[in-house]
Subunit: 369 residues, 2 copies
């Protein structure tokens, strides 16, 4: 059932189901199979339901543009092109990153079930949304999951004034007793570019360790990003080193484009493939230790972390992923409140495809703003 509310200032309250139905329809309209449309929508809507609006359905309009122009192939099927007992290289054939990545993590899980630990590297992929989705795919199957990917350079390295590496994401997920895996999904840049755009919109200064200006000097003025200003890596040389490692796992091992050769899925000619790379590692807990005792151990660590003495002003200590799970609970119960930039993108997509974004008559909002 579709039940949505148009909120003030262009926000939109929409049920998770209604949003999913809309996204699946949009993808099918440009030639994606039902199965692949469902996979893609599930990753994107799932990401929004975690409150990560920068990496969810907001991107769908851009993917659809590429699907229509040929840079993304609607009919592509990812396939294993090389493999061994514990590894495989998957060619995405320029299909949707969500489809290729879900397939590749499935392969990594199968390999891990056979050998204990499995690696699936990916080439000829595109932007895959949020890395956490694939790490969670493994954790839901009872395995530890790790997901990384490269991207077009947007982040400086210590000593450079312009982008050298992508904001190469790193995500992991670990099964635990409560049924809700621990998970973390981070960029290796100090902050996501979206936070800089936000500061521009609201005319706010930014901390001095987020951005450098055209000379490579730290700046607190967000304006001019990304044309002349550049993100800095998380924790300086540490984020730089981690991003480079991700580049190796995602591209040097797989045959995907490396660093500056990766295409921009947003800005480049949508008829050309981007050749993003990615890598997925699964560890089969159950081959090494009884899964039940492993989960009990994790639960004990979680309990210990939660009960640590609180810092002044702190109300609670969260374990990685907990904030996101609670947001998902609220979204499933009360609907998703999409921010205005996401709504604008969906409205544009609906117009592009001559579809209608589902809007229900105004209702009382039952969730906190």
């Amino acid at each position: 059932m579709i039940a949505t509310t148009a909120a003030a200032n262009s926000k939109l309250l929409i049920s998770v189901e209604a949003l999913d139905t809309f996204c699946v329809s949009a993808l099918k309209k440009v030639g994606v199979s039902s199965a692949n449309a469902r996979i893609t929508s599930s990753v994107l809507v799932g990401t929004d339901s975690f409150g990560v609006f920068t990496h969810g359905v907001k991107s769908l309009r851009g993917y659809v543009r590429r699907l229509k122009s040929g840079g993304l192939r609607a009919d592509a099927s990812p396939a294993i092109v090389k493999q061994g007992p514990g590894w495989a290289i998957v060619d995405g054939h320029s299909g949707l990153g969500m489809v290729t990545s879900t397939f590749a993590m499935k392969v990594a899980i199968e390999k891990a079930r056979a050998t204990g630990i499995g690696y699936a590297g990916v080439r000829n992929s595109c932007h895959f949304g949020a890395a956490g989705a694939y790490a969670l795919q493994a954790a839901r199957a009872g395995l530890i999951g790790l997901a990384v990917a490269n991207d077009k350079p947007s982040v400086s390295v210590p000593g450079s004034r312009r982008p050298v590496l992508g904001s190469n994401p790193f995500a992991y997920a670990v099964p635990c007793g409560g049924g809700r895996p621990i998970f973390m999904d981070i960029a290796t840049s100090a902050v996501a570019g979206g936070k800089i755009y936000q500061a521009q919109t609201f005319g706010l200064p930014i901390p001095s360790n987020w951005l450098i200006d055209s000379e490579g000097v730290p700046t607190t003025d967000p304006n001019g990003y990304p044309e002349t200003k550049t993100l800095v890596p998380m924790a300086a040389h540490k984020g730089y080193g981690l991003a480079l490692f991700i580049e190796v796992l995602s591209a040097a091992l797989t045959g995907a484009a490396l660093t500056s050769r990766v295409g921009s899925w947003m800005a480049d000619d949508p008829s050309l493939p981007t050749n993003h790379g990615a890598a997925f590692i699964a560890i089969n807990v159950g081959s090494m230790v009884p899964l039940g005792s492993f989960k009990r151990n994790i639960d004990r660590v979680i309990a210990e972390i939660r009960s640590a003495p609180l810092a002044k002003g702190a109300k609670r200590i969260f374990v990685p992923g907990e904030i996101e799970w609670e947001k998902r609970d609220r979204a499933l119960k009360h609907g998703l409140e999409l921010p205005s930039d996401v709504v604008a993108s969906l409205e544009g997509l609906a117009a592009d495809l001559q579809m209608k974004l589902p809007r229900a008559p105004k209702q009382k909002q039952r969730h906190k703003p």
Copy 2:
């Protein structure tokens, strides 16, 4: 040949060979076999030669104290206790962390050669020195290496006022064409505790994102660490999440002690084992892609990074590990200049064991101070 120089203010200029000979002798004197003494000394002296004086021979006195008291067993041999095609769990039997970890990475390399990717988890180990040593062991063999370990809690998490997780190190190394692997070896705390001690010694304030006080509030005063003040994680929730992931790989999968149950190799009763955990992953590049073309790709990325436009004031862009390799070159050519805290520890060790720290007549120093 022993050729050393006693420098001013208790520094010591000593050849890498002479330092190694001294450490091997010290370890043999407390019952460690020649082979294991050489492995241990090689890791420790190698770490000093990279300029990482906090994790090298400075620790030897503490290890020797535990060897004499029984918390570390001089005659222990690490052994595989469980295994599958791509994984193994190694029990260190409370032997030296360097011996157990070198053995475990060898196992991970063998597994990776068989399946493409290998995992070796370790229990009943102790402090293993610098994680980078084991990552490099894989890279020297032509594989990608990853090394992590847990430790007694010394780092807060967002919202806590006291230590919750160890400074759990993360290291990787990647073979490349020049023969010198790219490598990074980092703590998941914002800084190493050693930097706080340094600030105490010199009476200097510290940046506000290194340490929290007894109430969990950021402080710029290094005094009171570690009794009432606590390190913060690298990049806030990102370092916290990474440290927890390392805890899972090193301990939840292996049967090693978790978080607060890990012993302190420095402060606890030296007759009791610490039960540190660790994990080593090796990826056999050559099974996936011809090693030569992989290395050429890495070299091209390195060249691209090095030639990026420089930030104002920057002289050069370093790739991960490059600073350390250049320090090693100087150490091999001109000798190692050990800082005074390392010298004091070695002198204490020499006194404990009724040995003599090698000192040569004063020479002209040929290296930069």
